[in-house]
Symmetry: C2
Subunit: 459 residues, 2 copies
């Protein structure tokens, strides 16, 4: 399909969607399965999330649990939870059983507690126990990210037992890729790890305890950041997770961490829009409510900024042309400030800047701010002068933008550092804070300079 | 150090910075080495990027090349290139030789061509040849992301040769973690891959060709996205890269791809601020120029929006209170629109939305937009009414915000899809496009409604 031009591909996918809808309407089990098997699970998920809830549930009930699970694996946890909660308990349980254990736990955490219990109670009891134990941890901690099934052996086993296990059970082996054989005592406490090299080097009758070395391990509460640092500093592909008694609970893999970090970076980039994890398949009223929460606090910030204009109504009435440039000056300064926020966010993420560097950042921003302020001030000054044929208007607007650019980059550069210092997420709070200040300062500068030059502006 | 309270930790780090500066000023090699060894390479990089260029070069020249390389590995490629280009060629070459091959190639691509050639010409010739061959590929392609040293064997070698190689060379082995033994013919063409399981299962005298299976491989031009899909669909830890004659060039690892994707997600989240890869250690004039490029195009967008106000100067002059609410209406609608942009960006990233879904998205946004428009319109309408004690002013402002919210979410939700359809990066272009339209529409709605209700507003 990848060779088709974009337009034909779109049409093909749309017609697939129509046939899928027909097949669901007709409860045609075979047809649904055939269509879903012919597309990627990602595409199947998209089709499902475009359907009405009833149709989607109908579709998921007539698909095989394996196919449904493949599709659910592609969904973010909140969407996956909604998709599964709506199903009949027995169908839901069958699909849940086919999911990756970490996915199961993430989904259970997103579900209504009663629904989750209902589904867990009809699931295979061993799987349900695993899900219950995984879902007690924060999804971004070692406990939430670990694989429960460690590639472990008892301390009375021998090299031969490891080799046999590697050779015997194909599926088991795949699941432990990247894990080393861990050695535990009779109560499940982690006592060591065996390297592949010592395995190859040793005769099959050698006891594991003779060739194992001490294992680095973490507690289930270890955060994703701490894990990322550990993997950065060590070549391991996996790190065992142990509880406070030293009992081996599972293993976090390097890949799991890298993927979780990627997901978080993507979510972070969206937190600036204040939409959280909204998806359009959520109920309209919920989406409305969540968006309004942030918008209505923004009204307050806007009223504060607008009150500056209100204080200068007489000036405005005298030189109405000023009103054209008010939004322009505040918007341009907002953009300059946001650039400085962007650089600070990037430098914070790279570790090149720390909250103590406020003065260094300020100095660096001031030097750029002076140049950009002068350039932008001259540009907009000329625009204002030519537009209204009034050189003093150009002076007022240009000067206001110059000074406000300087204010904006200073605040934009330093606010993320200060917020971080006080434990507030700079990605969420920097933008609104910056915009309110640059709006207020912009309005104030334009209007107070205009009052000052009133005789010349009117002359 | 992690147990200290934040303030003391900051002071400690600052005093370390002062001592480091002193040691550099005094060219005290031992002191510099001691300090750098006592801090993380991340922190060393931060200290270096806070120094003046001369001091930083002095510091890097007196450190051991190994320590300098560890520090350079932490830097983004453009900063690393600047740090190394400034050094004496022989010093630069020694540090380059200590870097990871993929880092070397990324840095060379960021360097001035003549500088890069000068440094490469004094480097170890084998390493230099590797760098030259890696740096011809896009850093985000299989060629740019691969390890050059594959864990490969000739087709006349036996199981014993692989096991011997695994046992003998510690460093070599570490480097190939996650790679399978690849089998090549006498001209270097990839002919197969041997699984760990078949290795363990076979006697040492068995020729590799008897137990190998066909290998999946990619071309060096394969994009990061295609690689991510391959790794998603297959359990491999690495995929071999071959040229068009089938010759094995290197191996891309799953971890390398996951890390590269994470880095890209972080950069993407910054592209909205239009600051690209700016770091504050870059020259001021360059930073100014790059930021101004985007800001000056933004002036044009602002002038277009402001011209709407200009067309209604008479209305404004008659009801000056309108000027207070103009920026408020456009800013609030901009925020609503940006929320819709955020949800679309997220759904595009998750594959839940495709450019063909424009009408579906529009319908979903309209339903939220109607609710939020009414709520926000009533809120701001009440504010305007009470503030100026004029119910008609409240009506005009509230109605304008209601309608503009609807416009903003419709455009915000669909513009990313349309941009993507036409091959433009929605992360970069959606914001400015949206803001210009919501500003224009906001100004127009407020002012034209005000003209309509002029008698009542003045009454």
């Amino acid at each position: 399909m990848s060779d088709l031009p974009a337009k034909e591909k779109d049409e093909l996918i749309e017609s697939l969607g129509d046939s899928l809808q027909e097949a669901v309407d007709a409860s045609d089990e075979q047809q649904v399965t055939e269509i879903v098997e012919s597309i990627s699970s990602q595409e199947a998920l998209r089709q499902a999330s475009l359907m009405k809830a009833d149709d989607r549930e109908q579709m998921m009930s007539i698909m095989t649990p394996e196919l449904a699970a493949e599709m659910v694996e592609e969904a973010p946890a909140n969407l996956a939870a909604t998709m599964i909660e709506g199903l009949e308990t027995s169908v839901a349980a069958k699909i849940m059983e086919e999911l990756h254990p970490a996915t199961q736990a993430d989904i259970v955490q997103e579900m209504d507690k009663d629904n989750a219990e209902a589904i867990l109670s009809v699931m295979d009891s061993e799987t349900a126990a695993d899900v219950r134990s995984l879902s007690q941890y924060d999804p971004d901690s070692a406990g939430g990210l670990m694989e429960l099934e460690a590639f472990s052996f008892f301390n009375d086993e021998k090299v031969n037992d490891v080799v046999k296990s590697m050779l015997s059970d194909d599926e088991e082996f795949e699941r432990h890729r990247g894990q080393h054989p861990y050695v535990v005592d009779e109560s499940g406490r982690l006592v060591g790890v065996v390297s592949l090299r010592s395995l190859l080097r040793s005769r099959r009758a050698v006891p594991l305890v003779d060739i194992m070395s001490p294992a680095i391990s973490v507690s289930p509460q270890t955060s994703m950041n701490e894990l990322a640092v550990l993997f950065d500093e060590n070549p391991f592909l996996g790190i065992p997770v142990v509880d406070d008694r030293g009992i081996l609970l599972g293993v976090v893999s390097r890949i799991e961490i890298a993927e979780a970090e990627q997901e978080r970076a993507e979510l972070d980039s969206l937190s600036r829009q204040q939409v959280g994890d909204e998806l359009r398949s959520m109920p309209t009223l919920l989406r409305s409510k969540r968006r309004l929460a942030w918008l209505s606090s923004n009204i307050v910030l806007n009223i504060i900024a607008a009150s500056v204009i209100s204080a200068y109504e007489e000036t405005l009435a005298a030189v109405i042309a000023i009103a054209i440039f008010l939004p322009m000056v505040s918007d341009m300064s907002g953009c300059s400030g946001n650039q400085a926020v962007g650089v600070s966010m990037r430098e914070l993420a790279l570790g090149l800047t720390r909250p103590v560097d406020v003065f260094h950042v300020l100095r660096k921003e001031l030097s750029v701010g002076i140049i950009n302020g002068i350039v932008l001030g001259i540009l907009i000054g000329i625009v204002a002068w030519l537009w209204k044929d009034n050189a003093y208007l150009g002076l007022v607007i240009g000067l206001a933008l110059s000074v406000n650019t300087l204010i904006a980059v200073s605040i934009g550069g330093t606010v993320p550092l200060l917020l971080k210092r006080f434990g507030v997420d700079p990605a969420v709070a920097s933008g609104p804070l910056l915009t309110t200040v640059t709006d207020m300062a912009g309005f104030f500068l334009v209007l107070s300079l205009a009052s000052l030059f009133m005789p010349q502006l009117l002359g």
